[in-house]
C-alpha cells in the first residue's frame, strides 16, 4: 500500500505524463520529498520557502490541507492526495 497522488494536467510534465503517482511518508511534506525522487521538479511547483505555494491547492482525501496542518498534515497508506492548481486571476 502507498499513498495515491493525483496530478493535474499542467504538472504531468514532471510525472512522465502520469495522471496518478504513488509515494510514501508520514506527513504531506515527507510525501512530497519522496515524490521528488522519481518526479524531478515536482517539488518546486508545489512548495516554496514559505510552505505550500499560494496558488496550488492540495487535498487530503477531500479536504484542503490548508484547513488541516499544511505540509505537516499526517498522511497514511490508503490516503488519496489530490493536487489542483488554483483557478484565479483578475483585473489587478
Amino acid at each position: 500500500m502507498a499513498i495515491e497522488v493525483r496530478i493535474p494536467t499542467i504538472l504531468r510534465t514532471y510525472t512522465g505524463g502520469a495522471k496518478q503517482v504513488e509515494g510514501t511518508g508520514a506527513t504531506l511534506g515527507e510525501l512530497i520529498v519522496d515524490l521528488e525522487q522519481r518526479n524531478g521538479g515536482l517539488r518546486d511547483r508545489l512548495v516554496d520557502d514559505g510552505g505550500l505555494r499560494r496558488f496550488v491547492n492540495v487535498y487530503l482525501n477531500d479536504e484542503d490541507v490548508r484547513f488541516l496542518a499544511g505540509l505537516d498534515t499526517p498522511v497514511k497508506d490508503g490516503d488519496t492526495v489530490t493536487v489542483l492548481p488554483a483557478v484565479a486571476g483578475g483585473a489587478s
Binding site: 493535474p8 494536467t9 487535498y59 484542503d64 488554483a86 483578475g90
Partner: protein, 135 residues
C-alpha cells in the same frame, strides 16, 4: 474558435451582471475531447473582490471531481472584469493553469453593453479567438 450555445452565453453574462462590481467566475463543462460546452457551473469567488477572483478551493475540488466522474472537462473558464476591458491581465496570464480551456472574459464596465471575448492562454501566450454564439 469558441462555439457556445446562446443559453450558456446568457447565463455567463447574467452572472457577471449580478455580481458586479465584484468579479464573477465559473466553468462550462463539456464531454472530454468534445470542445463543446454543455453545463453551466457558477463558482464562488472566494476573494469577493472587484479586481481579483479565485474559485473557492472546496468547491473547486468538488466540481473537478464531479467532472472527472462524468468524463467531462472544463471547456470554458470564465470570469468578469468590472472596470477594465475583457482582455487577460498579467495576473490572468500568470495564473492560467488549464492550457486546454477557452478562457472567456466578460467586461461589465459599461452598464448597457457587455463585452464577451474568448482566449487561449498557453505558456504565457495569449491568443484571442472568435466566438460563435449558436441557438
Amino acid at each position: 474558435m469558441l462555439t457556445i450555445p446562446r443559453a450558456l452565453h446568457d447565463q455567463i453574462v447574467a452572472h457577471a451582471r449580478r455580481d458586479h462590481p465584484d468579479e464573477a467566475c465559473g466553468v462550462l463543462a463539456g464531454a472530454a475531447g468534445s470542445d463543446r460546452p454543455e453545463r453551466f457551473i457558477p463558482m464562488t469567488n472566494s476573494a469577493r473582490s472587484p479586481t481579483f477572483y479565485e474559485f473557492d478551493s472546496t468547491e473547486l475540488f468538488r466540481v473537478w471531481r464531479d467532472m472527472d466522474d462524468r468524463d467531462e472537462e472544463p471547456v470554458v473558464i470564465y470570469h468578469s472584469h468590472t472596470g477594465t476591458e475583457a482582455y487577460p491581465s498579467r495576473t490572468d496570464i500568470a495564473l492560467a493553469s488549464e492550457p486546454g480551456a477557452h478562457y472567456v472574459l466578460v467586461s461589465t464596465r459599461d452598464e448597457q453593453q457587455t463585452e464577451f471575448r474568448s482566449f487561449r492562454i498557453t505558456d504565457g501566450q495569449v491568443t484571442e479567438e472568435p466566438v460563435a454564439v449558436v441557438e
